[in-house]
Symmetry: C2
Subunit: 590 residues, 2 copies
Amino acid sequence: MAYDAPIAEMTFTLEAVAGLNRLEGLPEFAAYDADLLAPILEEAAKLARDVLAPLNQSGDSTGAVLTEDGVKAAPGFAEAYAAFRDGGWMGLTAPEEWGGQGLPKALSLAVMEMFHAANMAFGLCPLLSFGAIEALLAHGTDELKAAYLPNLVSGTWTGTMNLTEPQAGSDVGALKSKAVPNADGSYAISGQKIYITWGDHDVAENIVHLVLARLPDAPAGSRGVSLFLVPKFLPNADGSLGARNGAKCIGLEKKMGIHASPTCVMEYDGATGWLIGEENRGLACMFTMMNAARLNVGLQGVAVGEAAYQTAFAYAQDRKQGKVEGVDGPAPILHHADVRRTLTTMRARVAAARAICYACAVAADLAEAAPDANVRAAAKLREDLLTPIAKAWSSDMGVEVASMGVQVHGGMGFMNETLAAQLYRDARIAPIYEGTNGIQAIDLVGRKLSGTNGESMRVMLGEVEASAAAARATNDPQLVQIADRLKAGADALREASDWMLAQMKSREQDKALAGATAYLELAGDVIGGHFLTRAAVAARSSDGAARARRLALAGFFAETALASAPGRVAGITEGGSKFLDNSEALFGIA
Amino acid sequence: MAYDAPIAEMTFTLEAVAGLNRLEGLPEFAAYDADLLAPILEEAAKLARDVLAPLNQSGDSTGAVLTEDGVKAAPGFAEAYAAFRDGGWMGLTAPEEWGGQGLPKALSLAVMEMFHAANMAFGLCPLLSFGAIEALLAHGTDELKAAYLPNLVSGTWTGTMNLTEPQAGSDVGALKSKAVPNADGSYAISGQKIYITWGDHDVAENIVHLVLARLPDAPAGSRGVSLFLVPKFLPNADGSLGARNGAKCIGLEKKMGIHASPTCVMEYDGATGWLIGEENRGLACMFTMMNAARLNVGLQGVAVGEAAYQTAFAYAQDRKQGKVEGVDGPAPILHHADVRRTLTTMRARVAAARAICYACAVAADLAEAAPDANVRAAAKLREDLLTPIAKAWSSDMGVEVASMGVQVHGGMGFMNETLAAQLYRDARIAPIYEGTNGIQAIDLVGRKLSGTNGESMRVMLGEVEASAAAARATNDPQLVQIADRLKAGADALREASDWMLAQMKSREQDKALAGATAYLELAGDVIGGHFLTRAAVAARSSDGAARARRLALAGFFAETALASAPGRVAGITEGGSKFLDNSEALFGIA
């Protein structure tokens, strides 16, 4: 099954919706020029189409395997990784001083969307390396940076994140791995970690593990956790690979999907590691990696959704069934209205999630690179607000859209090795890892809404309303109708936000948390609708087909997701009263 | 993982919600007495818990296999089938003259829910046998009945349905299998059929295939299709098994789920068969089986949803993570508000779907057995209306609830062999087979709504409004609020129904079909909310916990599914205008 990156759609979303132009001319992105966008996206699209997509289904069938010599990647993955590495894709956003290209994250996000869409299991490998690079850049000593960044940035080595232990999943503070100081300033790391993505493999010569562990006498809970860098092979002073470190994969999880991404049980047995950041501040360092990783996981939802759409669309053109007026003989099922509705739903939701993710990336870029401190601060608020929405709304969307893709395929979609079925299985992990979507919702309501006293949401809602006003000002009857629905959606989100804020200040925070997931869904719908509206307005200067398509997608999203928004406030503000006050009757607990 | 049938919930739903009492004292159900309900459900629950549930995960891992001697069921399935057969479960609803027990279908549905919940792959085997029994009872000659019914009803033999061919999935009229008359009144059947559930196996000594094929010179399309009975072994006159017939399994599909249910490619090579019903009227005969099968597939959604709920609830009690006020040490995740919301959502949706399915079964019983012809006719209208809703709404619900169950499990839910992951994979087939859910929606809008000129929906809406009035009359503030939301939901469904009817009479039927799936979802929500409301009102005389639970579930469903109903009418009535009028821009087709 072919995957063709929707370059025009990505470019339009970056430029006309997410505001990529705000990054042009910034000193930190001196290397970036708008003319670079097209050649970079086209080059990435080739790698996705010609190298990664052809391995997607074979990788699913074969999977990675654990041997006596460690984990062997699925056939072809080492060669694909070499092509990725040699293309310089790992260093797209890294600073030029470490061998990177110094380009905006937003650009890299579009590139990574292609790689995830073509082969999500593959895409996870660089995703983790990005995290390791970010953590080192932000918190590493100069020695660690010099020893590890060049090889990570070039893709010669890969990175991992080691948080979870059997008893400590979402509650990272409960972890037990130990770090004991050695005489030379290094540490001896011991413990077991689970769910370690690409924790071992043979596609690169070394692996840089970032591991959370406790120092002796560290405080209990999350305030006693430190971050360590633990390489698979200890580098010599000359940069060559030295001794094998005491870090190994002792088991591979048998998962429902992403079979070609080895999910390792890692054992650290007195492995040599080095502290990253301050003692007992490991969680803060880890959050540096997590924020970027969360956005990238949301992006996986977009990517799998796009792949599911393309697969279903191709099948609907190909599969003939039943008669349709105006078509001789059996008609392609694309001619059936219900199939068209499903495809439209898929396409509209993917477009909305893509815009949310790209806008979040542009905000992250501005938060780092804008010369004006006020702009940076505002962008940081925006990045913080959009990150949990990008992660949760988009990854949930990926699951739902992949399920719709299965449905378009009929019985064929239930065959385990069709791409549609694989996408349904692959997509299911994204709402779980990097903080479950429930945790994203709590983060949104807690840190992001209540933690800013509603400021970041108020600013966002102001933009949503401006977007509705711009649509109304066109006097195009369709856009005016969209504007009305977007405004009603914004009103609903404002009402829910105000209630959430008040509730979080009360003694009954549990009732706010009880509505958090429904609140995040509403926020994603309204903000997604805002971006689709902006796209439809911007597309008025596009050619006829593009203009009609964007208007249709925005209109469809408005009459489905937005029109139902006002009726969903009750489910946010009242839910807790039913199942918290009646917990004994419902769950047998008081 | 244990499955414990929710007997009290089932009994309450049958009696206080679905109206099982209307079947008492009817001559056709002379064998039925309300006192039988409890012992039958308890006996079935034991088989489900002790025999079927323990094989669910092993059956998923091992699956059925095709050998030179035909298909071998997964280990333990033959013994489990023997226990099922010996318990007399196959004959629960069959007439006593054929060895059955003459009990209502509604009762059998509750029993089958247990079997599907414990082991959906197993439950498919009797589901298909039921269909064969129904078709023979309705359309078989006396000779065929005498030769096949006793062994089918006793469960000694099993049945199959053979519709699909590679080029003919949803469009059964496109099938090509041939039936050539033999001199003795039998037919020689040739052709290939795919997706044949339990098409071959070793759990029973003979298999009775019902096969759609074309007679020579039959008209093209669906009006040239006839139904034939083709046994695996030809029975001798004395009832013993004779020669092996030319019907065999030549391949097993590799599916995403229900691995222990062999999905066969069947080859008929001049196999001996006998006509069932009239020539070229095979589709009508097949619909006899299909209606019952559709309800049973909806029931699978209920069953898998219940199993997912039980599994997630058990995990949430067991898994400790994070701190919660009032709980010492790490708290079971059940104490987190967001997890409780998810479990409440699962439970409310399963309860609503169960009520829809059971009410459909009671209507089917009344349609057959009520002495008064008017009652029979009204019940038939109700059965017809509820069947596509029961099938599609419940099977979609099963997928969504299974996905929620995965989410509650966190990373563990993505491990392929956990029950949560299995249920997510198993559940995905139900929206596809027995007529995709898109076809159910078209059936609802076409035959059921438009075909009765709205009569059956009008009567249903009258009952929904009566249910709202009864809730309001209690003067309980919570029930009054539920009543308001149910009434608003009914108004929304009426508005959408009126639009659909008008649209179906116009020249633009495509716009009705474009909204059909969203219309079915709305109908399921409103009718499901009606049943939950009825349950909450009826439970006012129950004990405190049951009363509080039913009020909480009805209230939660009302503030989520019902409160959003009015806002969803636009997505039904306007959708087509976006993606049908802009098909060239969206899909490249005019």
